[in-house]
Structures are given as C-alpha cells and as structure tokens.
C-alpha cells in the first residue's frame, strides 16, 4: 500500500513546484517534463525490467527455486536438444503466420463488409467482436466441447451433410490448425475493429473522386481502401504476430500441446519445463523465445513502418 500511494501521489504533489518553472525555465524550460515518466518508469523497471534481467542470470543456472547453481550455457544446449523443441519452433512459426495472416485477410474483408451498406450492420459488428470479450480459458473449454470428435457439435453438423469430421484436437494432423482456427475466431473481431477504424478515416474526397472517375467497387477497394488501410494492416500484423508467437493460454486450455507433443509451441514447451521444476531451463527457454520474437518482430516492424513513410 505504501509504495502505491507514493507512485500515485507523487505527480500531484509535484504540481506545487511547477508554477515557478515557466519563469525560471529560460531556454532550458520545456513543458514536457521528464518527471512524467517517473511513475511509469518506477513501476515498469521494478516489476518488469528487474525480473527480466534477473531471469537472464537464472537462465545460466540449474535452479530448483530452493537453490541455484551456475552451469553456464548448459541450459541452452539442453533446451535445443529438447526433442519437442524443433517441433515447437516450427509449430510456433506456423501458428503465428497462419493466425496473423488469416486475421489480416478476414479482418480486412469483414471491415469492408461492415462499413458497406448492409442490413443488420450494428448486429454484425457486435457479433463479430463478441468473442474478443470471452476469456481465453472459456473459449478453450467451449471449443474443446464443440470439437469433441464423437459427441461434438461440429462433427455432428458435418455428419448431417455426410462429412465424417476429423478428430479436431485429437488427430495430430489437425490439432494445431484447429487451435489456430479458434484463435482466429476469437481474435478476428479486434482485427476487424482496427480495419474499420482505418477505413472510416479514409477521407471522403478520395472515394468521391474515384466515383467521378467511374471506378467500380473493386477498383476503389484496390486503389484506395487497400493502400490507405496500410497502417491498420501494420498494426494488425504486428499485434497478432506477437500474440501468435507468444500464444499460450488457448493452446494450453485446448490440448496442452497434445496429442503427445504435436501441438507444442515454444511457450508450451517453456511452461512444461517450468511445471516440471526445471526453472533454469525454462527461464533459458524464455530468453530464447524473447530472442525469436524480437528477431522476427523488430525488423518487420521497422520495415513496415519505414515503407509507410514513403507512402
């Protein structure tokens, strides 16, 4: 409680000092005080940066929570020998690419649809966004039931039209894709929302001009909507790629990486090591995941944002 009060009160009490600032400031005065960073910096460093740096150290130890022993890079060697890891790596990449790709395509299409003149637009917008509100664990439990190969609603419905549905979560060939499907189901609402925001902010004149030039719907979509919603695309790609690479809760709720190890991703391998009590090893995995995500997202974000400037 004490430290909480400090962080929330400090900026307020500082205000007593500020009135003097404009007068005394001279050429060094800036209204954008660095003090504004302070509460954020304190909370963020203490609760995020410090533990993160501590974890770099622990990734070099054999750590049972009760004691730790420095073993150099052994954990990293061991982690890369982990048989589930190669599978986990490819699965992580597949999962991230498939989900963020589908969110971009579906999100854009839905956004165009939901900004067009269509009956029941309000209803459609709400209903597409609805899954975003349900907790991941809840969605996982729900689809575990719906995707049950023998009793589930999905295979039941497919059976009616004569299709013998696969074991969505129990067949090694399908498990990962089924989870990706559910992830898209849950996340497409947010992507759509971002795209709607992007499309709505396209200046009216562009559309009118296109119309005057006699462009059809497809033409105006391709020449105006698509290029101008590029910032939205960047946002969706970056957010869903990070989400996809780090994705854990849904996979854990639905298959726990199974059957066997077939739907394991890096985060679930890390979590299993963690559960098994291999804290050093798991922390090493955390560091690896961090490097992988950074190596993919940073250049991509830099590349996408740079292009944007040229537009």
């Amino acid at each position: 409680m004490k430290s909480v009060t400090i962080t929330s009160i400090r900026p307020r009490s500082r205000s007593d000092a500020t009135p003097a600032a404009p007068a005394a400031g001279g050429k060094f005065y800036t209204p954008y005080s660095f003090w504004f960073y302070l509460p954020t910096a304190v909370i963020y460093s203490v609760l995020f940066l410090v533990p993160t740096f501590a974890s770099f150290y622990y990734s070099l130890t054999r750590w049972s929570l009760f004691e730790s022993k420095f073993i150099g890079l052994d954990n990293f060697v061991l982690f890369f020998q982990e048989p589930a890891l190669v599978k986990g790596f490819t699965n992580t990449l597949i999962f991230a690419v498939v989900t963020s790709g589908s969110k971009v395509v579906l999100g854009l299409l839905l956004a165009v649809l939901l900004t067009s003149r269509i009956v029941g637009r309000g209803y459609l917008r709400s209903v597409v966004f609805f899954p975003v509100l349900v907790s991941t664990i809840g969605v996982g439990l729900l689809f575990q039931v719906l995707m049950n190969p023998e009793q589930g609603l999905i295979n039941g419905a497919l059976g009616v039209i004569g299709i013998d549905g696969p074991g969505w979560l129990t067949d090694p060939k399908w498990a990962l894709m089924s989870i990706a499907l559910v992830d898209v189901w849950k996340g497409v609402g947010l992507a759509t929302l971002i795209y709607i925001a992007g499309i709505v902010s396209i200046p009216r004149e562009y559309m009118e001009a296109a119309r005057v030039d006699g462009a059809g719907s497809w033409e105006s979509f391709r020449r105006i909507v698509l290029p101008l919603s590029r910032p939205a695309t960047v946002t969706v790609v970056i957010l869903s790629l990070i989400g996809g690479l780090r994705s854990f809760e849904l996979i854990w709720a639905m298959t726990r990486g199974g059957p066997g190890f077939t739907s394991d991703v890096i985060s679930s391998v890390i979590y299993k090591q963690y559960q098994a009590g291999f804290y050093g090893l798991s922390t090493a995995g955390n560091v690896i995941l961090f490097l992988v995500v950074t190596a993919i997202v940073l250049p991509l974000s830099w590349f996408l944002n740079r292009k944007e400037v040229n537009l």
Partner: protein, 442 residues
Amino acid sequence: MRIGTRSTALAVFAAGTLILSACSAGSLGSSDEGGSGSVSITYLTTNQDQDVKEAEQLAKDFTAKNPGITVKVETRPGGTEGDNIIKTRLSTGDMVDVFNYNTGSLFQAIAPPKNLLPIDDQPYIGDLDENFKKTVTADGKVYGAPVGGFMGGAVLYSIPVYTKLGLKVPTTWSEFMANNAKIKASGDGVAPVIQTYGETWTSQLFVLGDFHNVSAAEPDFADKYTKNEAKYATSPAAVKGFEHTQQVHDLGYENKDFASAKLPDGLKMLATGKGAHYPILSGVVANMIATYPDAAKTVGLFALPGDDAAKNGLTLWTPGGLYIPTTTTGDKLEAAKKFLAFVASPDGCKSQSTAGAPTGPYAVKGCELPADVPQAIKDMQPYLDKPGASSLALEFLSPVKGPSLEQITVEVGSGIRKAKDGAARYDEDVKKQAQQLGLAGW
C-alpha cells in the same frame, strides 16, 4: 495552487481505488480469526471432488474432537500444475499451515530438509507403515503423515463382461490379450481396453503399473536406474510396458473415442459394461462408485499381467503425505501437529472412510478397512497378503522420474510413435530431472 478540479478529482479517484483495493474481498461469512483461544489453520489439498470431500470430512471430525481448532480447506489443481504451485509457494515462504502432497520422487523434489518440519518425534510415528515411511524420508528424517490409503496401479475390469463371456482373470500378458481378442470377437461392441487420453495422466498405467513385473525380472532395476546404469529402452523387461501400450493400439482394442475421452468417460464405460478393462489407479474407484453405486460390485481388479504367471503381482502407490512447512509457527504449529496426529490415527482413517470408498489399505497401524469396501479394493488384498506379490512403484524407489511420460505414452498408445522410440525418448526425458537433483552418474 490551482491545478483544476479535473485532475484533483482524478487523483482522488486513483487514491480512492487504491485504498479500496488494499483490502481484497477475502472470505464471506465466517470470520473465525480473533475468537478467544481459538486457532484456525488452513489445509491445502487438490481440487478433485473426492479429495475435497475427504478433506472437509477430516476437518469436521477433527474440530469435533478438538474444539477451539478449526481447519479451513483450500484447494489447488492436481498434476504438474499443482506441483508447480506447491514449489512456488514453498520457495516464497507462502505455504499454508498443512498441505497434502505426493510422496516418493515428487516429495524429494521439494527440498524437504529445507522446507518441511520433521515429525520423527511424534508419538504416532511407530504406527506408520514402513514402506510409507521410506517414501517420506529425506536425509534420515521422516516428514509426512499418511493421508488416504495405498493405491494399486492395476487393471479394473467389468465382472459382468467376464461372466458373460466366461473369461478368467489373466495372470500373463498373453492370457490378457486372449481375453481382449474374445471380447472384441463377441460383437457386443464392448471395448476390450479403455483408454482416456483426454486426461493424459491416465495413459501411463501400462508402463508404471507394470513395475512389479519389471522388478520381478530385474530385481536391481530401480537401483541401477537411479545410477544411470539401466534404461527403459535397453532393459528387456522395462520396455515391455511401452510395447504393451502399442500392442493394444495396433490391435484396435481401445475404445473408439480413446483420444478425447476423459477419466469420467472411462469410468462410465467400465461401470456400464461398455468397456472391459481399464488400466488405472485404484484411487479412482471411490469416484466411480459415487456416480455409479452398482460398480462397487460389478467392477473388479487384477494386477497388470506380465510374462511369468508365478511372479505376477501388484504395483503399489503409497498414500499421499501431509506435511507441515517450516513457515508454520506458534499456536498454528501446535494445531497443525494435532491435525497430523488425528489424520494418522484410526479415528482419522474412519473419518476418511466416511467421506468415500477407500482406495486401498491404510498405512496406519490399527486402521481397518470398512466391511463394505468395493470389490475392486477387496481384490487388492490377496496380492498384499502373499509375500512378494506386490511392490512399490518405481517413483517411490528412485527419485528419477521424467515429466513427459504421459505425453509419450499418449503418443505410443495413439500410434504416433513406436514403443522402442517412446522408451528411448523417456530415457532422455528423465535426464533433466536427475541432473536437477544433482544425482551422481548423470
């Protein structure tokens, strides 16, 4: 100075919410702290239906005998998630006053001398079963009191199916497979072997429950295993467990929904005669009978069959342990000690039998099983009475146990991986655990 009402309001609001939040909701209703001379201790157990019932019954009966001490039951998930919570709470000094946890290899992994209170000086220590004591001993000191009974890792079978087809309880693997073939051929749609990979831990019994047969063939397996001299993949006896798992799948003896079915589905199949055999821990019997009372008579048990009928016997799991962490002090410590003494007494056993069917014999001298125990539990007795017909599971004889066995056996039992390969993979898996424990030879 004027900074404007808006920001003032905001600051007040922020401060207000933080003050409000300082007190989390806590528990509604009973506020038992602060009563004169009364002590309240918290007991942490797993969230399985049967465990909660048992814990609440124990708490109730204990308070009846010890007015002034109340026991609050708190729950945690079971399995590896639970392991993790126990470790985290112990390492952060945040454990409740008394907690229930596994014995054997998992017990060794929570650094008992550092985190737990030894109970060697307690009066009931002499009444505890020797086998049990071994599994809660670290550095020569005993740390846990038994809660629950011994469990058998065995095959539960449907007696009506056996009667109808005129089958005999098998003592060798080939007899067992012959029975399976007959059950399948009977055309009743009865699944010869129930597997429930929707709950992965249930997939391990062909391997773990086979250990009596392994040690009958290779008596020093456990020792060598700990020393990194024996391996599942290279020991002809040990690899059988994996091979059996694969065979059952290859011959199509599993129930059709084995990949998604969960424990309750498996119990339902067994209790209703839709499945004939279910390799599982006898600990699930109480749960089954709570839902299907008839199963007390219609479900029996036999040890996992091996190669040699003469040496066939039951693999046993010791009861769970009750432990007091070193963080429990003062009045609560005294109360916690009393609670352990109660649980490890005939009264405690009686209380547990009231809460649900026992899982097997108790590990406390003077504790009798009630006369009306289910048939499956009764079937364990002959193995226990006959010398050399039962042995503890490997996890109680060696601290080496890998975390991924259940995923591997799911793979082997689903045809994703071959038995030999699975065994080799498990050997890799245990390496990390052995290194973590700092065992010699790894």
